[in-house]
Symmetry: C2
Subunit: 304 residues, 2 copies
C-alpha cells in the first residue's frame, strides 16, 4: 500500500510535514521572474520556468527535512500548457530527490472520465508500444461528490500501480460546513463520505482540516487506522494543538500540509528563500515532534 | 451574462446540442494516430497532435450545426503537457469557428486556489505587462462540495469577464445518488446545491443528468429561469423524451451533451469520421427540435 511508503518516509525524516507547492508569481523572490523574462519575454513560458526554478530550489532545500511535497494543480494550470510542463518536472525532480508526491488536484468525474484522470496522475498512458506517466504522482486528492463509480476507477489504478488517494471529507476552508456539515440521516455528510472511504479500501485516505479540530478528533476516533491529509495548518489558522487529534495512537497515520508558511518564509525573515524555507520547515518539524511526543499513548483532545 | 451568448448561439443554430470532445485514442479513426507516430514516434506528443487534428476535423464538420463544444479536461491531462497544448488549441480553434466552449473540468477548491482555477479557464494571467488566457473557455463546470467560498471566486471572474459556470447538482452516472440523493434536512443534497447555485447569481447554472428525468423535471419546476447542462443523452442511456423536462417553458435554457455518439459515429456507420459526426449531429438536432416543438406551452413530464 502506497501509504506504507509515505509512512516510511515520515519515519525516516521524523517529520509528518508535506510542503505545499502552490506557487503564485508574487511568492517568487525578487529577481527570479525578471531573470526568466529577460530570456523569454513577458510570457507564460518565462513564468513557468521561474516557478520550476523556485520549486527545484525548494526541493533542494527541503528534501532531507520533509517526506513529501504537494503541488496544487490550479497554480500550474493558471500558467497554461507551460505551467503543466512545470508541474510535471516538479513531480519528477521531487521524486528523484526521494520525496513522496501528492498531486492536489481534487479530481472527480463519472467512471470513464475518472479513469482518464487516474491515468494522468497515478497510472500510465500507452501509445503504441510505449508507456508514459503523464503527471507522475504517488497520490492524488479526489472529490467524491459523484459517488463510488466516480472513485473506484482511481482505486483500481492505486491497486494496480501501488498509489493512493485522499478523498475530501472535511475541508479546511471557512464555508466547508455549508454542505459537508449538513446532517445526512443522522450523520454529517463529511462523515458519510469518510465511511465510504473506509469501504473503498486501504489505498484511500481522507482530507480533514486542522481548522476543524473537533471533527478531526471525531474522525480519528471513528477511523483509527485511516491515513489523513491535514491541511489548514499555519497560514489558514490551524495550530499544532489543533491538529494533534488527527494522529493515530502511535503518533502516525497523518501528514500535515504547510504551503505559504514554508515557501514564502523569505518574506518574513529576509533570508534567501531556500534558507528561509528550510528554517521554517525545521521549526514546524520540531513543533510537530513535540505534539507527537505528547501523543504517545493517545493523542490529546482538541482545545475546548 | 454569458448564458445569453450561449442562448443566442443555440437560437441561431436551432439546436441545443453541445458536442463533448472526450478523445480516447481508440476514438480516433484508423490511420490518424499512425500518421502522427510516423512523424513523432510513439510519444505523448504524437498522440496529442493526432487528437488535435481529430478535434479540428470535428469542429470543421460541426460548427454550422451545433452551438457549443465541451472538451473534457481528463482526456487531455492523460496525454501530459502535450495534451494540455491540444486542449488549449482545441478551445482556440472552436472559438475561431464561432462555437461556445464549455471546459468540463469539474474544478473546485478553497478560495485562493479556486481563484487560480478561474484564472486558468475563465479569466486571465498577467505576466509583467502582458495578459494571457491560459485555457480560453467561455464556461467551466464546477464541483461545489467545498461550499460558497470555493465557488464565489469563479463567480467573481464570470462577472468580470462575462463567463459562466455550471455547478454539479445531479450528475448522470449510476452511483450519483449515493451522496447527491441523500436527504439533507428535508431536501436532497443535489437540490440544496442547486438552491445555492440560484443564490450565487445569473452566471451560475447547474448540471442535471438526462439519466434522472424526474429529478431533472423537479429542478426545472423549482428553477424555471436557470440554465441547465444536461449530460447523459445517448451513450449513457438518456433519451430525448427523458431530457425534455429539462427545457424551460420557451423550449430554451438548456444544452444537451453528446460525446461518443457524435465523435465515434464513424464506428457505427463506416463513413469518414467528419461525415459520420455531422450526420449524427443533424439527426440529434432534428430529434431535439421535435422535443422542443412539443415543449411549446410547457414541456412534457418525464415518462412514468
Amino acid at each position: 500500500v502506497s501509504f506504507d511508503i509515505l509512512s516510511e518516509k515520515i519515519s525516516a525524516k521524523g517529520n509528518p510535514t508535506v510542503a505545499g507547492l502552490d506557487p503564485r508569481l508574487d511568492h517568487l523572490p525578487p529577481g527570479l521572474l525578471a531573470a526568466h523574462i529577460a530570456q523569454k519575454g513577458e510570457t507564460l513560458e518565462a513564468a513557468a520556468a521561474a516557478v520550476l526554478e523556485f520549486n527545484k530550489g525548494l526541493v533542494d532545500a527541503l528534501h532531507d527535512v520533509i517526506p513529501a511535497v504537494k503541488p496544487q494543480s490550479a497554480f500550474y494550470e493558471a500558467l497554461g500548457p507551460a505551467g503543466m510542463v512545470t508541474l510535471r518536472e516538479t513531480m519528477v525532480y521531487a521524486t528523484e530527490h526521494g520525496l513522496y508526491v501528492i498531486a492536489d488536484a481534487k479530481r472527480g468525474d463519472i467512471g470513464s472520465t475518472a479513469e482518464a484522470y487516474a491515468e494522468a496522475f497515478l497510472g500510465e498512458t500507452v501509445i503504441g508500444g510505449a508507456v508514459f506517466r503523464p503527471f507522475p504522482a504517488d497520490c492524488l486528492t479526489v472529490n467524491a461528490y459523484l459517488g463510488s463509480d466516480g472513485v473506484l476507477p482511481f482505486v483500481a489504478q492505486c491497486e494496480q500501480y501501488g498509489r493512493a488517494v485522499f478523498v475530501l471529507a472535511k475541508t479546511s476552508n471557512p464555508s466547508s460546513g455549508e454542505f459537508q456539515d449538513r446532517d445526512v440521516e443522522g450523520m454529517p455528510l463529511y462523515r458519510r463520505i469518510a465511511e465510504k472511504a473506509l469501504q473503498w479500501g486501504p489505498h484511500v485516505g481522507i482530507v480533514a482540516g486542522a481548522t476543524y479540530p473537533s471533527q478531526l478528533a471525531e474522525m480519528r476516533a471513528a477511523f483509527p487506522d485511516m491515513f489523513f491529509l491535514i491541511p489548514g495548518y499555519g497560514a489558514q489558522g490551524g495550530s499544532a494543538a489543533d491538529l494533534a487529534p488527527g494522529f493515530n495512537a502511535d503518533g502516525g497515520g497523518a501528514v500535515v500540509n504547510s504551503s505559504r508558511a514554508i515557501t514564502c518564509a523569505w518574506k518574513k525573515t529576509g533570508l534567501p528563500y531556500k534558507d528561509a524555507a528550510r528554517a521554517e520547515a525545521l521549526r514546524m518539524r520540531d513543533e510537530l515532534r513535540e505534539v507527537l511526543r505528547k501523543c504517545r499513548g493517545g493523542c490529546p483532545q482538541p482545545p475546548a
